[in-house]
């Protein structure tokens, strides 16, 4: 009896040590994951904050040697291109996700769609840019904002599709049955009830896609192309933050390097701000006690 008791004591000590050890590992892993993010952000802050001024946000880029230039047109240009991309990518992605989850279970077409989405996800962004270049730019014989939007939009589709499908599948089956049992047509049940229930997850999917393409440079190289001046039309080349950062970063001039750092900082901050804004706006409609 006393031996069992001793064994018990030993076991509990071992368990406590194990507990602390694994907890420590978990904390360490978290730190390792967060550290690069913190490091990058701090470094950007350090390098770029000093170049931020009012002119940065309101002025056009100036030729080498002059001071007082900004990246205003790139900020607007990014917004335009991302807006176009979202306009294309979000509806298509959600529609495909709805199809896969609700109407296509087990069908051959659904499997093809899913496969295509996965493949598209893996296509390098430069290849995406070249493809859109061949399909749109060459045909139109000029670079354009909407070509850039198309490239980004296509890149958003796979993420949104898969997330939408997953989120819809998590909606309990009986919610849909409840809607159908009320004499609601199937399409309406899907749109008004299923989508609405799954919307938090779907919105997250959209924002993930958005955040990913917001920083892409390669697809824009041959489509939006970049522009030193204010945007004049959607069928004209347009500036974008990643493009401008790239151009300045590889230039030999210090002034432009500083602007590149500032631009990188602004890009990350703008992405974070837009994501937070979307979260805030969509969460205001949620009721007390809703899941």
């Amino acid at each position: 009896m006393s031996e069992d008791f001793k064994g018990g004591r030993l076991n509990s000590i071992v368990r406590t040590v194990e507990n602390h050890f694994v907890t420590g590992l978990a904390v360490l892993s978290t730190v390792l994951v967060v550290a690069p993010l913190v490091a990058v952000f701090s470094y950007l802050l350090y390098k770029g904050a000093s170049s931020l001024n009012w002119a940065f946000f309101t002025k056009l880029p100036v030729p080498v040697g002059e001071t007082g230039g900004g990246m205003a047109n790139s900020i607007i240009g990014s917004a335009v291109v991302l807006g176009l991309g979202s306009l294309l990518g979000i509806p298509v992605g959600i529609a495909a996700g709805v199809y896969l989850a609700e109407f296509g279970r087990g069908r051959v077409l659904a499997n093809m769609v899913r496969f295509t989405a996965d493949v598209l996800n893996g296509v390098p962004s430069i290849v995406m840019g070249i493809s859109v270049y061949a399909l749109i730019v060459l045909r139109e014989k000029h670079f354009s904002a909407y070509a850039g939007g198309a490239a980004l939009g296509i890149m958003m589709v796979p993420t949104i599709t898969r997330t939408t499908e997953e989120m819809l599948l998590t909606v309990p089956h009986n919610i849909r049955e409840a809607a159908l049992g009320l004499g609601v047509p199937n399409w309406r049940a899907v749109c008004s009830v299923m989508l609405r229930t799954a919307s938090p997850g779907i919105i997250t999917g959209c924002m993930l896609a958005f955040a990913r393409v917001a920083g892409e440079t390669a697809p824009l190289l041959f489509t939006a192309f970049g522009n030193e001046f204010w945007p004049t039309g959607l069928n004209q080349p347009i500036a974008a933050l990643p493009l401008q950062i790239y151009t300045y970063a590889i230039s030999p001039y210090d002034d432009q390097h500083r602007l590149a750092w500032a631009g990188a900082l602004v890009l990350i901050v703008l992405i974070m701000v837009s994501v937070t804004l979307v979260r805030y706006v969509t969460s205001r409609g949620v009721l007390k006690g809703a899941s």
Partner: protein, 252 residues
Amino acid sequence: MGVGIEVKNLNAWYGQTHSLVDINLTMPANHATALIGPSGCGKSTFVRCLNRMHETNPIARATGSVRMGDIDVYKDASPVEIRRRIGMVFQRPNPFPTMSIYDNVASGLKLNGFNNRKILDEVVERSLRGAALWDEVKDDLRKKSGASLSGGQQQRLCIARALAVEPEVLLMDEPASALDPVSTSKIEDLIFNLKSQYTIVIVTHNMQQAARVAENTGFFLNGRMIEYDSTDKIFTNPTDKRTEDYITGRFG
């Protein structure tokens, strides 16, 4: 006012499985009919054939006739129309989680495009009163979500939601099986009161519930209806030995 339902030679399949075999019965208007039987006997399948909910399963099909009043449920109307006239309450309460209590009750109407605010207010109050839930939720109609209520309240909310569409028949698939005794007896009292306006079909595992609530009872076994008679006859002196064995607990 409720209408009666007449079922003739109903057969149903899930893929290759013949899950309902030659069912014939008549459920009278403004009565409650209970369906009892062991698990897997087909009573839930039967009820889902009445409002064509079994069609939501791609491998399901049914033959035979189901008449509600003077229309043929399968031939004279679309599933959507039928489901507005034959309402359904499910085993597990399933209020829409993203909608408020008010919106839940009104959902049958709103999702079909009906938006007149004044009439909706009236309908919501009437339905919640009909489901004996009004007093408990009248101050939180728009503030609380449907999913924040207790189990028994959620089920009464689902009943109110079904009533709001003003069906003529109400199908209830084990409505109280997930609930505690107090909620169960509230719902049984409710069914008793609803009989005057609706025809009710209730599937139940609980024989005492069938006895308390329904005038007629049908016993299902292996996809067939073995016996259908007045409830007191079934429970005091059933004709078929299989019925007796089931209700005395000798199997099932």
